[in-house]
């Protein structure tokens, strides 16, 4: 779960720094709009980037995008998506999962503790695209 969280934080930071280069890190509890200065189009960009990385779209059916206020909310939404891997058969899809030949496990890097630095997060955001 930590690597998923860090991936999400890295993507959020990537978009935040396009508008506010002085921000070096983001926390899961920061408000995307009030604290980080993002607008709805920025959130759309974050979700598009995450869909390309993770091959899932939790907002297709499962989660209302209007409920997303913090990076932590994003993590919770994507965690719900990946939790369907363990769902018993017959429960039906709860988010749009895209066939890609990649597993959830190899889409993210090994877990790391703590708040990553700006460089680490940016490297993560870019490096994983080539996996």
């Amino acid at each position: 779960m930590e690597n998923l969280n860090e991936t999400i934080l890295a993507v959020v930071l990537d978009v935040v720094q396009e508008k506010s280069p002085e921000i070096e890190a983001v926390r899961p509890d920061q408000m995307l709009v009030e604290d980080l200065g993002l607008r709805s189009l920025d959130l759309a960009r974050i979700i598009a980037k995450l869909e390309m990385k993770l091959d899932v779209d939790p907002f297709a059916e499962l989660v209302a995008v209007t409920s997303i206020r913090t990076p932590g909310d994003l993590s919770a939404a994507y965690a719900k998506c990946f939790s369907t891997d363990e769902e018993p058969k017959g429960t039906g899809p709860i988010c749009a999962k895209h066939p890609s030949g990649r597993s959830a496990a190899n889409r993210t890097r090994p877990p790391r503790a703590g708040l990553a630095s700006q460089r680490e997060l940016r490297q993560k955001a870019r490096g994983e695209q080539s996996q």
Binding site: L41, A44, R45, A48, K49, M52, H98, S100
Partner: protein
């Protein structure tokens, strides 16, 4: 892998105007991904000329299926790593008086001409937004701009594309994505293939440039709007109709 050349998706690229747009974009060294319900000789020829799918990708897609459209866009993204341009060209014309039209024909036109463009645009934006760039051209019609008997549903769907264009241009302009509309008038295509010589002559007489258009006339404008030459043009509707006066 991300392709070095720009990638365009063209809906309904197997015949008529779509075929001309596909051929034109390939000629201009773009990678083109197109879909249609079935292969045509043009598609077979293009696929045979590019067995490694380096410049031309085609899939058999039901354009009325939103999941299939989203899957096609994702496949293009995986294959080439980018989507730079989208041409929403696919359309069906069911002519007839509205009161005489079957429910199924009305639904088919709304689905193919409008809903599919919305769903495909949404799918492609998911590739364009991370890039921070992109250009979309919606193929509307002069029937969206002026009244014409027998094409009310078709006109409604084509006018809706103009509304889509103008609002979405405002919505995604800050992300560097442009959206414009091309409104062709009467031009030689499958859709006008049933016109009599008299009908064609009457259209030409009411056209200041005294002829019907060609698919190349339209494809040239599509290319211009997709190209960097149109970098400061968005939310516009441009008619390609020879000045047709109705």
């Amino acid at each position: 892998m991300t392709a070095e050349r720009q990638v365009a998706i063209v809906s309904g690229g197997s015949r008529g105007l779509g075929r001309a747009i596909v051929a034109d974009l390939l000629r201009r060294d773009m990678i083109v991904a197109a879909f249609s319900r079935s292969k045509t000789p043009f598609i077979e020829q293009r696929l045979a000329a590019d067995p490694r799918v380096e410049s031309f990708h085609w899939a058999s897609i039901d354009g009325a299926d939103p999941q299939a459209l989203a899957g096609f866009a994702r496949d293009v993204l995986r294959r080439y790593g980018r989507i730079d341009a989208l041409v929403n060209n696919m359309a069906t014309l069911g002519d007839g008086l509205l009161t005489m039209m079957r429910d199924a024909d009305i639904h088919a036109q709304v689905s193919m001409n409008l809903e599919s463009a919305i769903f495909l645009t949404r799918a492609c934006l998911k590739g364009m937004l991370p890039q921070g760039s992109g250009s979309i051209v919606n193929i509307s019609s002069v029937n969206a701009l002026r009244g014409q008997t027998g094409v009310s549903v078709y006109s409604a769907t084509k006018a809706a594309l103009i509304g889509l264009t103008k609002s979405l241009a405002v919505e995604v302009g800050p992300a560097g994505i442009r959206i414009n509309c091309v409104a062709p008038g009467y031009f030689d295509s499958d859709m006008t293939g049933g016109f009599t010589d008299d009908q064609r002559a009457r259209i030409a007489r009411r056209t200041p440039l005294r002829r019907l258009g060609t698919v190349e006339d339209v494809a040239n404008l599509v290319w211009f709007l997709l190209s960097p030459e149109a970098a400061f043009i968005t939310a516009q509707v441009i008619a390609v109709d020879g000045g047709f006066v109705g």
